[in-house]
């Protein structure tokens, strides 16, 4: 049992011990909080592959060495440190970092840099030694791919567009967001045969805009191969209830537009087993019980 006077004497020794333990690289504030920010937001241009402004930020030693303009960290003074100044300029400033509209640092990340520099910009200061740092943001769940990357098949996509007179448009810059099958420019060119020919890229198509096309029930058979289809618009086509059975395998289909088609109640009944289907439109069809005009019911 330690008596009170002995304990008092022991405290400095404990503190030294703690510092030594915390100095293991993975427990330092630099390794835990600063390096990940630099890695994520800066190293693409200031790292092993590129050294813009002769500056590398992929290790503590490189960071402290600075770039062609000299040191970028003024220990103890964030406001005088180029590293801090550049990321806190107005985003429209041409010296603002990250440059070229790459994602800027979040206010929390800026705060982390500021606190770390103010506390001495140490490589060894333990994580717990710098107080008031914002909590780490929860890592974002990776965005789920809606479809395989279309890029390896871009030549094939271009050929099919040319041959069929349809368009296969990327939904976004993310190549796993899939393609939109777009026919608005020449809907009458898109028929059952065209759908059949799209089979090699069917798995890439997430939305199929087939309104006013010549698609019939026979063509819907080919849609069964559109395994990643989320949205299907068949407005004003000759599709009927008989054809809707072909859609049974579209397990990801979320929205289905059947406006002004030949479907009836039997067709809607066929859709009830589609697991992901949330929205169906059947205005101007023979489906009964549709309140197409809220005004009529309000009157």
């Amino acid at each position: 049992m330690i008596s009170w006077p002995n304990f008092r004497r022991a405290v400095p020794a404990l503190a030294v011990l703690a510092a030594v333990v915390a100095a293991r690289a993975e427990d330092t504030f630099y390794a835990q909080r600063v390096a990940p920010i630099l890695e994520q937001k800066c190293v693409a241009c200031h790292g092993e592959k590129k050294q813009k402004g002769k500056l590398r930020l992929d290790s503590f030693a490189h960071l402290m060495r600075g770039g062609e303009g000299g040191g970028v960290v003024q220990s103890g003074d964030a406001k005088d440190s180029e590293l801090f100044i550049r990321v806190t300029l107005h985003p429209a400033d041409e010296d603002f970092m990250p440059a070229d509209s790459k994602p800027p640092l979040t206010p929390d990340e800026v705060k982390v840099l500021e606190l770390w520099i103010a506390a001495g910009a140490s490589a060894t200061a333990p994580l717990s030694s710098i107080k008031g740092a914002p909590a780490l943001a929860a890592p974002k769940a990776p965005v789920a791919a809606l479809a395989p990357d279309w890029q390896p098949r871009s030549a094939q996509i271009a050929r099919l567009e040319e041959e069929l007179g349809v368009r296969l448009v990327a939904r976004s810059h993310l190549p796993t967001d899939g393609l939109v099958l777009r026919t608005a420019g020449a809907p009458t060119r898109c028929d059952d045969a065209a759908l059949a020919k799209l089979a090699p890229v069917a798995d890439l198509i997430v939305e199929a805009e087939l309104a006013r096309t010549k698609i019939t029930d026979a063509g819907l058979v080919w849609l069964a191969t559109f395994s990643n289809l989320r949205a299907l618009d068949l407005t004003r086509t000759r599709v009927t209830s008989a054809g809707l059975g072909s859609l049974a395998s579209l397990g990801k289909l979320e929205s289905l537009n059947l406006t002004s088609t030949g479907v009836d109640d039997a067709g809607v009944a066929r859709l009830k087993d589609l697991p992901a289907l949330r929205k169906t439109w059947v205005f101007d069809t023979r489906v009964t019980g549709v309140t197409a005009d809220p005004a009529a019911s309000a009157k």
């Binding site: 985003p91 429209a92 509209s101 279309w150 890029q151 871009s154 030549a155 996509i157 271009a158 567009e161 368009r167 296969l168 448009v169 990327a170 939904r171 976004s172 810059h173 993310l174 967001d177 393609l179 777009r182 608005a184 420019g185 020449a186 805009e209 309104a211 006013r212 618009d233 407005t235 929205s255 537009n257 406006t259 929205k279 439109w281 205005f283 101007d284 197409a292 005009d293 809220p294 005004a295 309000a298």
Partner: protein, 495 residues
């Protein structure tokens, strides 16, 4: 060039860059011509995007997956009062004819129309409000039809703008800047995303017949121009009547194949010129000839309403059969949306009620209420509202105090840029909510102010575009719809 006196260094550098780019285009045209031309003609095949060969060419693909594919903007030009429409202020009834406290006005400079008034008497809305829809929103009795789709609307009560007069304010709303010469919202969308239907313009504007004409402000193509963007991004203004686009029909005796041959010949000459000088304006000209030719078949089909079922006329009302009315234009907007037109802007003027407001705002509401409701309802029942955003509003707000004599039945309201109301529906906007709050006098914003720039950033966001990235280099600046001042996407409005 480097010896020229008085020319700033930055400008010389820009010239040098242009020269290099022209040279590049001129030399590389055989390899690049088809890709560049295809982009200008509105194609956006993914294979053309991966390595866009033209510096500064738009990506033609959203930055992220969009919620909205199209927008229909019902522009209430002249600016309807927020008091009689969407910013319900019941407490004002007790303050009838009392003076607006000076502390509220805060020394604001007023327009010349009311600055010399000796009093600023408070004018409560003559029109009553009642709760509607599941959300229980207060809707003015001026809008009995729109009230039925109240649950679809996201009403923003805290918009504010920089301009106090119509022309700069309407320019700021439509182009993001008070000065003429900037691309309008639809032009930016055309530039950023390209066409969905190459047979029709990407951006269409219609002006509407007015039920009465008081203080009618001029509209001009400044509001729908492409500014410094290539001219094919400007709106095509559809005229009312049987001939929506002038000079589209072939002259008597000229058959379609003859016209085609002529256009091919002219385009050939233009391409030769492009190979020599590499001016992108030449490609714009080629694409305009092609668009005009394609519209020869697409526009007559578009304007032929004979295949509309009776349910359409029941919904939009009988005036929808009369070309040029607001009702007709709303129906046309739905037909344009069905055919993949990205941005349709309908202007309805004569909301500028400086005097006789109660009488005139009622005329305007009666003219536009049913078609507005009909458009939202029609889009919804046809499954188009999910990816079509409808936007309703004017260019600024109006004052709580009466311009001119105040009586229980009659008053007017002056311009007021510090707060005004708009609504949006569909296209990824959160339905049934209200955003922002004004003070008891709807004079100043007390919660969640939203500048026009924020509205623009939010609209672009719905289309999958990052307002800070959609830019065009001009006059030494990466020009953007939202300009250089801070602007933000209002995520609270997103579904």
């Amino acid at each position: 060039m480097w010896d020229l006196p008085h020319v700033p260094l930055g400008l010389k550098r820009e010239w040098l860059g242009l020269e290099t780019r022209r040279h590049f285009l001129g030399q590389g045209v055989k390899a690049l011509g088809w890709a560049g031309l295809a982009t200008l003609l509105g194609r956006s095949a993914p294979n053309l995007l991966a390595n866009s060969p033209i510096p500064g060419a738009p990506a033609m693909v959203p930055h992220f997956a969009p919620k909205a594919k199209r927008a229909i903007y019902l522009f209430m030009a002249g600016s309807p009062s927020q008091f009689e429409t969407w910013d319900h202020k019941p407490a004002l009834a007790d303050l009838f004819d009392q003076d607006l406290p000076e502390s509220v006005r805060g020394g604001q400079t007023l327009t010349g129309m009311t600055a010399s008034q000796t009093r600023f008497p408070i004018a409560p809305s003559l029109y009553k409000f009642a709760r509607h829809g599941k959300a229980g929103r207060f809707v003015s009795e001026l809008f009995p039809y729109t009230a039925r789709v109240s649950d679809e609307l996201c009403v923003i009560k805290s918009l504010h703008t920089d301009a106090i007069n119509h022309e700069p304010a309407i320019l700021q709303l439509t182009t993001g800047n008070m000065f003429p010469g900037r691309p309008s919202i639809g032009s930016w969308l055309s530039y950023g995303l390209g066409a969905m239907n190459e047979e029709l313009p990407t951006f269409v504007v219609m002006t509407s017949k007015m039920p009465h004409r008081t203080n009618v402000q001029a509209l001009s193509n400044r509001l729908w121009s492409s500014g410094f963007l290539s001219p094919e991004h400007a709106a095509v203004a559809l005229r009312s009547g049987s001939d929506p686009v002038l000079y589209l029909n072939n002259p008597k005796g000229v058959e379609s194949d003859v016209r085609r041959a002529m256009i091919d010949g002219v385009n050939d000459l233009n391409r030769q010129l492009f190979e020599r000088v590499g001016d992108p304006e030449i490609n714009a000209r080629i694409s305009q000839y092609e668009m005009a030719f394609r519209m020869q078949t697409s526009v007559p089909e578009l304007a032929d309403f004979s295949n509309e079922p009776q349910s359409t006329w029941d919904l939009y009302g009988p005036r929808a059969k009369e070309p040029g009315t607001f009702a007709y234009n709303c129906l046309m907007a739905r037909r344009l949306a069905e055919r993949g037109v990205r941005f349709t802007q309908i202007f309805l003027r004569s909301w500028d009620q400086h005097s006789r407001l109660p009488t005139n705002i009622k005329l305007m509401a009666e003219d536009s209420d049913q078609p507005t409701y009909a458009l939202v309802t029609d889009l919804k029942r046809r499954g188009l509202l999910d990816d079509t955003v409808v936007i309703w509003g004017g260019e600024f707000g109006r004052t709580v105090y009466s311009q001119g004599t105040l009586t229980p039945e009659n008053y007017g309201r002056d311009h007021h840029p510090r707060c005004f109301s708009m609504w949006m529906a569909g296209g990824g906007v959160k339905p049934g909510i209200s955003y922002g709050e004004t003070d008891d006098f709807s004079y100043n914003i007390v919660k969640d102010p939203m500048h026009i720039r924020d509205l623009h950033a939010t609209i672009l966001h719905l289309f999958g575009l990052d307002h800070s990235k959609l830019s065009f280099k001009f006059q030494g600046l990466d020009q953007k719809l939202t300009g250089v001042l801070p602007s933000k996407v209002v995520h609270d409005l997103l579904a």
